[in-house]
Point group: C2
Chain length 100, copies 2
Amino acid sequence: MNLKIATEIGKCLSNQIRFQILEWLKEPEKHFPPHETLKHFNDGVCVTYIKEKTELSQSTISTYLTNMEKCGLLISTRHGKWSYLKRNEETIKQFTDFLT
Amino acid sequence: MNLKIATEIGKCLSNQIRFQILEWLKEPEKHFPPHETLKHFNDGVCVTYIKEKTELSQSTISTYLTNMEKCGLLISTRHGKWSYLKRNEETIKQFTDFLT
DNA sequence: CAAACATATCTATAATTCTCGATATATAAA
DNA sequence: TTTATATATCGAGAATTATAGATATGTTTG
């Protein structure tokens, strides 16, 4: 972790919805339905469900999640036409270690 | 800690200089001279020294530090005409706990 | 009290970020 | 291969944040 990346993470955390997504993803089964095809949360939650829950436009949510992945907060996995997202606990730990 | 405050903290951490100040304040004696009058760092570092090190204008640094104090990242103490700032480790811990 | 110094606040412009619709790309299903 | 669905990227106007000069406030010192 370095100052530049930490600041990029800070930018992601400067918006209530983005922060909220990160909180929801702590316990996906509590906040999202299991995907119709994939009946588990091994790779996190389908983008579509996050989009629906936040009520943001598709392009906005896509930008949010892409940026959160770029700075290492999230891990993205494709299954067919769907993208799944989960927290990257390793980066989150590096970030909190850097801060404290 | 709640989402609103956490996001305010995120805003403070979204700027490299503000984040850097927080890093410097981990070890004041390594990054700042001891104050001429107060020969210790018990209450942190004098605003003037932070201003000089960052090379920002007085009004900008004042705004930065005020906001960082408002969201609980810093603790401000006045000694006469000087203000001293130190990290608020309690809030920082609450923030990292909230995130993880 | 007046002058000097440190910090805070106000105001305005510059810079950045937000947000979405439009459009492109990727994959699946028909 | 055509159509439908999911996600990504582009471009632009709206909203927010950055930044500093001017000015105000608070405190010390002479």
